[in-house]
Symmetry: C2
Subunit: 405 residues, 2 copies
Amino acid sequence: VNACILTIGDELLQGNTVNTNSSWIGRTLIKYDIIVKKIITIGDDIESIIIEMRYILNSGYDYIFVTGGLGPTHDDITKNAFVKLFNDKLIFNQSYYNKLKSKYEKNLIKMPSINRSQAMYPEKANIIPNNFGSALGMQYKDKNSNIFVMPGVPEEMKNMINDYILPELINKPLSDNVITIKTSGIMESKLAEKVNKIIIKYSNSCKFAFLPSYYGVSFRINRIDHNINIQDVKDEFYKAMEPYSFGINDDTLENYIANKLITQKHTIALAESCTGGNIAKRLSSIPGSSKYFLGGIVAYSNILKTKLLHVNLETLNKFGAVSKQVALEMARGIRENTKADIGISTTGISGPDSLGKKPIGLVYIALVSSNKTIVKKYNFNFGRNAHRELTTTATLNIIRLSDLF
Amino acid sequence: VNACILTIGDELLQGNTVNTNSSWIGRTLIKYDIIVKKIITIGDDIESIIIEMRYILNSGYDYIFVTGGLGPTHDDITKNAFVKLFNDKLIFNQSYYNKLKSKYEKNLIKMPSINRSQAMYPEKANIIPNNFGSALGMQYKDKNSNIFVMPGVPEEMKNMINDYILPELINKPLSDNVITIKTSGIMESKLAEKVNKIIIKYSNSCKFAFLPSYYGVSFRINRIDHNINIQDVKDEFYKAMEPYSFGINDDTLENYIANKLITQKHTIALAESCTGGNIAKRLSSIPGSSKYFLGGIVAYSNILKTKLLHVNLETLNKFGAVSKQVALEMARGIRENTKADIGISTTGISGPDSLGKKPIGLVYIALVSSNKTIVKKYNFNFGRNAHRELTTTATLNIIRLSDLF
């Protein structure tokens, strides 16, 4: 069962918005054995949408997911494109208009007059409700393709897929043909070397893919021979990938850490320098993270390192802010300050400028608990943003592995 | 002049990686009047790449940017696809192989043997050097299309475009047909209402687009009649959009704040609760931000609010953590603690759970300086992640506008 995603919007072509919708859809569908074969992005132009949709419809996808261009402004023309494509027409829905109007009035806002267009709905389409916004979704069927047209606002689109499209309109069981092993702390080529023999062993019964990102390397197993047990294959790879393998499918380092800390009844606090709040952001992205994540200090300046984290001025002057010694004092400082069980710190050089004789990319990560003191040194010299992201992932991985060190 | 982007990788289709490459390329090219008309993503499959490339080549784009699939593992097959597409062949480059090997040896790592493939290079292609990684880029020409094939690693791709493709291989001047006005603090439909008359006035000489995102609404002006002065048009819209308009093109709230604080010689520190480090992350994403951004405290738990920010326990108990009063005490606390000129705080309910009688989406943002005390209340009820992102943007916007309040 395959799918195509068509995302519409000049803001995507011109890079004002990153296309997170298509990756979310791909990630969600694969769990139901629906494989996205192609993602296409085009601009807000009726003719382009029609041409592209005709081409997509001729390619015979089972499911076609369309997002974007359902808003109220003049460049939101997706509804008109589909009306033209399917020889449909728009009809004014008085009751939906009243509902929209009263929603605005409840918030003491006068509804902008252009929002009237949100109550115009194509006659032949099924309505997909929108729990978060004003633009309704549409379902069309054409030959053997099932087409879902949704707004580009991520929360609205996700809600439509999770609450209506997957349970009601698709209604397919979760798949047992695909498993993804999540790893952290090893680069793609090293991981490939590690499992090369097992890949060859299963090469006739499974397809494999290495999926690298700033969050680690994922390894996807796709069963093609239904006589083999995919759980056994997964277990064999998982074991060979230890201690880098930490979970499967939707598991993340953040989730792993959440479960671990909740089980151990441990709390954690951060002293971030070069990561500038990114680790805090990732830890606190988990709902309920306040149970184990107390918070932390972003000691971006040296002043805060001494003032709030009580890093010794002598240590700073003697070894420099980016040093093993300062990393340790930062981790100790945040632990004492917050009474957290585990104190974590990062200090490094993200660039673009280097720091004295120390190279861009250098970073120290420290972890301090009642019975452990760990400092790790890395060099991630791939640009400022990559440095911050890779340091964040390396830190989360140190927290995950801290019982092993 | 138009372009098409082809991004290759199962990790993009299956959503393990978000496609940030294509948005970066789109954003970069538009400055040179090269308009991306289409972005296509397909998987790591030789036949799919060849079919897709033939279709793209027939569509007559001036430039075709291809990323991904140049790594060393078995599923990196882009090079082989292009060799087949252009009846080319791979040749082993001994000197590049030696260079790669010595690079690994310098870092005291044995080069994985599969990296040998990185020294295999197509005979007919021009080499595009890679300053950050081992995979070389390729340039092909076909009919009137200029094709650039690059690795999927963002830093490597960006460096190839910035250092080789734009200055040497394309060598086009910066455009004066497109200007984007950046706004913050107003929603798309309200902004559209505000400038509707000016849009009508220029409807024959320009094309316009509203580009909404979590970072604000951008407004793109595209000149089609060369007799008008695009700067004048921009100025007219910019004025009508005040005080929401804050910059053009690549300007960001973070850059605006950087310039403002550096000029005013002011420092800033943060006390973040619901945003969990996201504001710190965005402020510290600017190289050199340590000049004005001292850092801050992520007071995710109430314990840190009282202990490190000195929020009064009575205030917390009486008004709750998400209240005007606690927001103010947090901003005052971080300002006093760090001696920053400006203290900023956020406290809100990102969800999924609400807090007592207070609704999900509620948030208070406070700013305290020597002569100002501002608290703003918002409700961003569009899901947890949107709440954190919109609160972050609203906070940066309050910093931007603080002189006006």
